[in-house]
């Protein structure tokens, strides 16, 4: 049973795709569905560049098998359209090279959706999951807080 045809629900679309059970969700998203917005940074769960959401919860797609995602709602950066957090990242200069940005935005978006009342401690607890090497995090902090503030 090494190759299997399965249906994944990605960004609101149904995608039929042939996978091996040992393939990570990140690999399948990028190599089989062409969704290259999720970035490989370590393949080890350490950097967060590949973060997507699974049923609205942030998930490092390098730590999940694609087969585990069957029957779940997968959202990648390509699935976000003109959300407040995307605009805030632009306005606040919250990225430079942009490589960690999809992961940061997916994690931040999920935080804002799940905890619109998040305090500093919770913001830190969630955002510690991603590494940005270009900024000093100050702009990312400002972007996330600006959206949370609007929500309040």
């Amino acid at each position: 049973m090494s190759l299997q045809s399965v249906i994944l629900h990605v960004n609101g679309e149904e995608q039929q795709v042939t996978i091996r059970p040992s393939e990570t969700l990140l690999y399948v998203l990028r190599e089989k569905l062409g969704l290259t917005g999720s970035k490989p940074g370590c393949l080890n769960g350490d950097c967060g560049a590949c973060t997507v959401t699974i049923d609205n919860i942030p998930m490092k797609s390098c730590l999940m098998l694609a087969i585990e995602a069957i029957d779940k709602e997968i959202t990648t950066i390509e699935g976000l359209k003109d959300t407040p957090i995307q605009r805030a990242f632009v306005e606040h200069f919250a990225f430079q090279c942009g490589y960690c940005t999809p992961g940061f935005i997916m994690n931040s978006h999920s935080l804002i959706q799940n905890h619109p009342d998040a305090d500093n401690g919770m913001i830190k607890n969630w955002l510690k999951s991603n590494i940005c090497r270009c900024t000093g995090y100050e702009e990312i902090e400002a972007a996330v807080k600006s959206v949370l503030h609007e929500k309040k």
Partner: protein, 771 residues
Amino acid sequence: MSIIGKSVIRQESYDKVTGRAKYTADYSSRSLFHAKTVISTFAHAKIKSIDTKEARSVRGVRAILAGEEFPLTGEEIRDRPPIAVDKVRFHGEVVALVVADNPKVAKQAASLIKIEYDPLPVVNSPSEALEENAPLLHNDVSKYEKEEGVNPIPKSNIANHVKIRKGQKEKGWSESEVTLEATFGFPPSDHIAMETRAVTAEIRPNGYVYIQSSSQAPFMIKKLISTYFDIDVGKVVVNTPLVGGGYGGKASVQLEILAYLASKAVDGRPVKMVNSREEDMITSPGHVGLEAKIKLGSTSDGCLKVAEITYLFDSGAYSDKAVHLSRAGAVDCTGPYCIENIWCDSYSVYTNHPYPAPYRGFAHTEVLFAFERAMDMLSNKLEMDPLDLRMKNAILPGDRTPTQVKLNRSTVGDVPACIERLRKIIDWDKEKVVKVSDHIIRAKGVCCVWKNSTIPTDSSSGAILTFNEDGSINLISGVVEIGTGTKTVLAQMVAEKMEMDIKNIHVQMRVDTQSTPEHWKTVASRGTFLAGRAVLAAADDALCQLKEIASVVLRADVDDLVVANSRVFLREEPELGVHFREIAYGYVYPNGNAIGGQIIGRGTYIQRNMTHLDPETGAGKPGPEWAVGAQAVEVEFNTRDYTYKVIKAVSVLDIGKVLNYKGARGQVTGAMSMGLAFGAREGFVFDEQARVLNPQLRTYRPVHYGEHPEYIVDFIETPHLDSPFGARGVGEQGLLGMPAALANCLSIASGVSLQHLPLTPEYIWRRKEGL
């Protein structure tokens, strides 16, 4: 000025927040083969045997490269086999390369290659490398092919020796009443760009080589692949899309060579390689290590008389950019001070460590850590305020640098102004140590910084502005968009120069060496200067062409014409004019006659009046200008367990004219964050066999969200007259003093002198315990 200085958002912003921005590894096609390395598990060993039989039998394996001799590589000394032959010299060195149908098969086959090693004694630090009877990394370094100006010492582990001889040290010592001597050091580390290096290479039947690479130096790839493999330089075509962070690490050429060899082994088919994080950290070049010895002499009232310095740069197993690093470290071997007598020996020393690429600051952060820490130690001995000591010796227009360049107001920023501003911002004149609670104190530390570039004297940049039929402009420059936002700043310059709306300037992000004018490398904080000058020249060229054709249409002398808001019009009667769209593709008269043609502006700039360094004294002009600054760090330090938190980090930098405020500030705070991580936490941990024990992001940890301090950034704007709008470099400066300021601060807080990085609580504890 209207748009210069404004916080214009970067042109590729919306691509980056929607996942549409593409980086090298994002490009894929079914026709690609994939290559995977096998890397050495030893730091120094003879290769006894390589058994590839089982790996070759895996279905889908196309080629395996191992044990074969290829041309030696290396930017200044050609000492590095692309794939190890007979011997490995560092943990992580490439021993074999598998090319296969897909990444999984390549990886599977790579794991089946069996290599037997015969371990050799290791050189685990630069000082060990210089010991008598130290194992030689290379039998005779002087036999290798090398560039001019490289000075290896035969049959030693020294790949390069740079001498700075300014004044007379004996005179300096005789005039000194107080002296200080101390040693400093830190291990090699890594850049940790979030995008690991990736490359695709293909050799077409007509002999053209196409390479796509996540690189800061596509033009250097073109040049070196041509040189190493004897290919006409015009037949090597390199393109670089957006790059996911560089910090210098992607200015070295390494993975591209492997991809080229892999493609060659499979009849030129395109081959893709993407580094794993582990390979990116230890196999591809990292951040240099250093051992330093500094002797300072001063009068009793704090006037510096002499500096005698030895720098041993940890070149790792191969010299590559370490040669240049040892040169840059010598050029600015002190802090930004006027010292009459300077004697510096800077060496690039082979060890069994991973070898270095450039790293943001290019030897300056490293040297400044040692020198600025020494300055605080001297101030302690003099019982003089550390900032007062720096102020007293600050280098000024009229003074001469270590390489004897006589400075003027344009070529050096204003050090005293930076110090004074810093003093106010951090309330330096109040208590330097404040007790917060039982075990917690607050302490501050300071330092000064400077940096010039040492890139080749003939480094140049070119730019092209092509017009579209609607009168908008395509801006084409060889600067790689690595995250610095330089290409957006270039668009600001064109908008300013042409007095037009920046919305009508389209920047080409990709660099293609066949169609993009050359920019030496996207390094050394020289993008805005070199490419900026080229872009301004191109804009001038376009303006001439626009006016020329408009003068015919408007029947007016070109001198009577003015350009603004995408129009060329009469100075006297602005309503009489033509819009760019009417002339960008030539002007067409009502009867169909046409004149002119597409407007294409071109411009180039080459560095002016740079010189090579004198081999005996180091005298020479290394770069166009020195950006300077003063920095501080404030920590909350726990006197019981030696843990600490960085509360504030402050940079006052003279970067000349600020071109894009938020962009510049982001460059500075980002660099400060990187510098704090380098000072406080980062560094490879080696075992006794010189193997790297922490080549992963969970054991080698950059700063994470929430660990960052409050950043305070202020700019002094002393113009560099040659530079567009008077700007100086800003990409690296924020990093330069962070390790030194942190070490100075923690030395004050802990009461013991801290002279090694990283500054972990365990290290402070060891110093306190005398371990």
